[in-house]
């Protein structure tokens, strides 16, 4: 049987008349870095929200770590506690940078000395140790992004969801975060990233899914997709002729 960490079967979601995603099925395996790419408006965000239990699909089902999502037995909460979410827009909660990073640990009842230690460790790793005491709403875009990342990682999730996670970063910090993702998956974590950066997909991802107009156009290992793009638009993307 597959080791599928995420198993999405025939998922569709419409908002009024607009069909955001239609009949998408994909599996994400443990330990891999899975990229979801597509032009803007393709439905990537909706797909991601469906996969992270934030948006119940109209049709289809999602299984996460062997549990059924969107069932009423409280499994959604268990699922959410195993996933780390780094949204595209780094959203800071009220308080300091430290408060933000510490939050997932505090809600898991980690004792405060332990919290402090782990927050310091991860902040140092991401180069934001000096701004821990700063009001989170007042930091720069790049600092917020790294804080958001640290917050998603600090409690050692099983799956990391990343949406355009190096958008606001200079190359040095981008490289640090990418190496963190690699390190994370090498230790058994799974990463799902939504991106439009061709080179990042090549650098990082193991498998990718291409979503266009709400449908899954192609899914497979990176070199397979690059070698045999399913249609003209995909070909233009993988050759770099067209940017998404």
């Amino acid at each position: 049987m597959t080791d599928a960490v995420i198993d999405c079967q025939g998922c569709s979601k419409a908002f009024g008349n607009k069909h955001a995603i239609t009949d998408i099925s994909l599996k994400v395996q443990k330990g891999e870095i899975f990229a979801i790419i597509g032009p803007s408006g393709a439905g990537k965000t909706t797909l991601l929200r469906v996969l992270t239990t934030l948006e119940p699909p109209d049709k289809g089902r999602v299984r996460f770590l062997g549990m059924n999502a969107y069932s009423d037995n409280g499994s959604d909460q268990k699922i959410r506690r195993s996933l780390g979410y780094v949204p595209q827009k780094a959203t800071m909660l009220a308080g300091t940078v430290e408060d933000n990073i510490a939050l997932p640990l505090k809600t898991r009842g980690v004792p405060s000395t332990e919290v402090r230690k782990r927050v310091d460790e991860i902040a140092e790793r991401f180069g934001i140790l000096e701004i821990l005491r700063k009001n989170a709403s007042k930091v720069s875009g790049g600092e917020a992004q790294r804080t958001s990342f640290a917050r998603a990682l600090v409690f050692e999730p099983k799956v990391l969801f990343l949406v355009e996670f190096i958008a606001n970063l200079d190359p040095a910090n981008a490289e640090i975060l990418e190496s963190v993702v690699r390190d994370f998956t090498s230790k058994g974590g799974t990463a799902v990233m939504v991106t439009h950066k061709l080179l990042q997909v090549k650098r990082l991802a193991d498998r990718m899914a291409i979503v266009m107009e709400g449908r899954l156009v192609q899914v497979g290992k990176i070199k397979d997709v690059f070698a045999k793009p399913k249609n003209e638009l995909v070909r233009k993307f993988v050759t770099g002729e067209m940017a998404w």
Partner: protein, 216 residues
């Protein structure tokens, strides 16, 4: 009404009654408002409209309703609340709570949806999530409490009706002003009015200062 001790008693009682009413109204209104602000459910539109309607609920009508409830010949007469500060607290709590619910609901409802997604994705308990929403909407909530308090401290019609303006027991600044005006003692009435304004101003000043320091 010339003694200073009477004046102090009236001032303290006014703040006690308004304070307790606001406190109870907040304990009820903040969680309900946060819940209503974030959950999608059937009939939400109807409930929202109902709450907003209560913003304009005439205090004197509320006073009458509470009076009839607490009257000896009324359903809650056994409480023996009428003409005591407890009756005034009941009436003022009923007036303040819809305001607190409504303003909290609106503030929490207008939290950035990215924040809401983030909180949800953390997988915290419902209670903890509500608490986080309240934290995010902190200034809206402070407003809700302040407005709730304002409606209590300035209340006169309902306070008069269910309290009876009894000296030493249920006379507060507003009802005392009515009394002095009725007797033609306009200077005394103005004096009381000035004290009411000044003391309330101090309380709001404290609120604003505490709130303002948030942005370090």
């Amino acid at each position: 009404m010339a003694q200073w001790s009477q004046l102090i008693e009236i001032v303290l009682l006014s703040y006690y009654i308004a304070g307790v009413s606001t406190l109870i109204g907040s304990m009820i209104g903040l969680p309900i408002g946060a819940f209503l602000g974030t959950k999608r459910f059937k009939g939400k539109f109807a409930i929202k409209t109902l709450i907003f309607t209560f913003y304009g609920f005439p205090p004197v009508v509320m006073g009458l309703i509470v009076f009839l409830l607490l009257s000896s010949s009324g359903p809650m007469g056994f409480l023996d609340f009428l003409y005591t500060p407890w009756a005034m607290i009941v009436a003022e709590t009923f007036l303040a709570t819809p305001l607190i619910i409504g303003i909290t609901m609106t503030s929490v409802g207008s939290i950035d949806h990215n924040v809401k997604d983030l909180v949800r994705s953390l997988g915290v308990s419902k209670a903890r999530a509500l608490f986080l929403y309240l934290k995010e909407a902190r200034s809206g909530i402070a407003t809700a409490v302040m407005i709730g308090f304002g409606s209590c401290i300035s209340e006169v019609g309902a306070a008069m009706m269910v309290g009876g303006n009894i000296e030493g027991h249920t006379r507060v600044m507003t009802t005392a002003i009515v009394l002095e005006t009725r007797m033609g003692n306009f200077q005394t009435a103005m004096f009381l009015g000035a004290i009411l304004l000044a003391t309330t101003c101090i309380i709001y000043l404290a609120f604003v200062l505490l709130e303002g320091k948030r942005d370090d």
